[in-house]
Symmetry: C2
Subunit: 367 residues, 2 copies
Amino acid sequence: MRLSEEQRLDWLRLIRSDNVGPRTFRDLVNYYGGARAALEALPGLARRGGASGPAHICSAEEAAAELKAARARGVALVALGEPDYPARLQMIDDPPPLLAVRGQLPILARPLVAIVGSRNASAAGAKFAERLARGLGEAGFAIVSGLARGIDAAAHRASLAKGTVAVLAGGHDRVYPAEHADLLEAMLAEGAAVSEMPLTWEPRARDFPRRNRLISGLSLGVVIVEAARRSGSLITARLAGEQGREVFAVPGSPLDPRAEGTNGLLKQGAILVTEAADVIAVLEPILGRDIELPAREPEREAAGAPDTEPGEDERSRIVGLLGPTPTSIDDLVRLSQTSPAIVRTVLLELEIAGRLERHGGGLVSLL
Amino acid sequence: MRLSEEQRLDWLRLIRSDNVGPRTFRDLVNYYGGARAALEALPGLARRGGASGPAHICSAEEAAAELKAARARGVALVALGEPDYPARLQMIDDPPPLLAVRGQLPILARPLVAIVGSRNASAAGAKFAERLARGLGEAGFAIVSGLARGIDAAAHRASLAKGTVAVLAGGHDRVYPAEHADLLEAMLAEGAAVSEMPLTWEPRARDFPRRNRLISGLSLGVVIVEAARRSGSLITARLAGEQGREVFAVPGSPLDPRAEGTNGLLKQGAILVTEAADVIAVLEPILGRDIELPAREPEREAAGAPDTEPGEDERSRIVGLLGPTPTSIDDLVRLSQTSPAIVRTVLLELEIAGRLERHGGGLVSLL
């Protein structure tokens, strides 16, 4: 499937509207049968959810301007479900509805492996990242990383010729760190840069963990080269595990603080890597396997009215059950004595109103 | 059980005779009902096995002299099955019938952990070995090692106060390396030195792998701290695995050749160690368990004549089936169409004659 120009505009409007993230986007489109109908429903949802003020809904003009600017910059906005959309990324829980790609789109169809690690890498760590990236490149893998200083940059640099993908936490016009702008440009000849944010989005601290799910989501596996305790690379490793991707870690001396994170991952069952062959041996068998995509509802032509509209009584019962402590959606259904569909709708309203936080494992809490 | 002085002398004579190793010792004593009867049978066995020349049988005088010299040196000769014999060492395939112990015998009854590694250790490796030895000592473990330069010496030194055991490849009067004679003496106040060789035995290259089985055999587990590819520590790790002991390895950078061996062990399933707690967590549950000793035939009072005497025809059929290629004893029984007892006897004859080599897994070949 390919979106029409009009649909792509609607998709962009919906994902750029306040309180709409990738999961809510999917729920809304599934619920209302399409992005256009969802956009029309947003104000009502926000009101019923008890929004404290008016939330921004991205206008057609704003979205059209972003599409135009992206094209001018050579950035393709690839939609979930389109042929160019990276197949493995579709399998994660929260794939971006639109992926902004600069450079060589076809690289995203190649087998990808992520190499990530400390920003303040040791010389040995950077050298090993380069060696590993070269080895994996020669075996036909393209290397995904986060363009950070240290391990990330070493991995990108060593795979410029064979192909490498940078996943950005900000927009394509706000490359971080700025000193790697030239490295990024050099990557585009054989590789690509990917972002889910608007072109001019300045990356904030919380955008990096969010970005990390794309690094692992694009990849068959993630290799953590050096990582201190509680570092961002460990978040990527955790996300990779949750996404069912292989987690690899490079061992180091127990006296080296930069190896604490990777040794910890190895204790938790990560696969030990001392050479590219260790990664290839695990990933090659996976390459042959078909990617199983989760069943997705197609974008329906006409948006039907939702089948289930919660009554005022049901809504207040469900909201009454919620608080700052994460609660399971199953419990909400059981305790509110309503249907799963009613609970889902009320949660969607609260989310659009900016009052709901979703946690892992089907848990939600009020903000 | 405790041996009488006369029995101890016979045991020493038997194990010090040519072509009698720990396994043959056990077979002979089981077969003839005691060491004395086995000694009397040796010349006949050697003749029937086709010995090329006269093999040395240790005389009563020689054995008495060794016992006397050992006592003068403060070396106790503890026999397999006696209360002071280390319980876990009895569980291995080839425990020494007599263990020569200097220092504190009771330390061998404490929970023991081996720490071994490269002779040319890095400063970091030696430092980590010390830290680990101290941590395990504080948790109540005594440290076993091989008195070698590098990791071994660091582990011994750091556990002088809490107790440490050196297992020697040569005799107690031939400490190797000589530069560690003072370290060894310092160990005896709280620890011990152990050898299965005669007091004045000069260690040869092949005595070190043989010694390594005692390092692992005494211990609940073996920690390999640094080890290059194809190093002696890897032999200890393999033996530990074969003996059912826990194998631990300390990770290191893939760029450090001294970590090649340990990283390789980790790939094969060794338990990753970055601190003493990693070892303690695995070994503490084992401490509570009873040690299962293999059933052993007691030393019988009167030696009976063996029940099964192979005929000349049977003997030549079995010898005819043997050659330089290792063959399984089961196959010998099947192909020779004799009984397992007959095959065992013929193999014992060949062994005493110095013509048989035993391999792992019940395989034998002619020398």
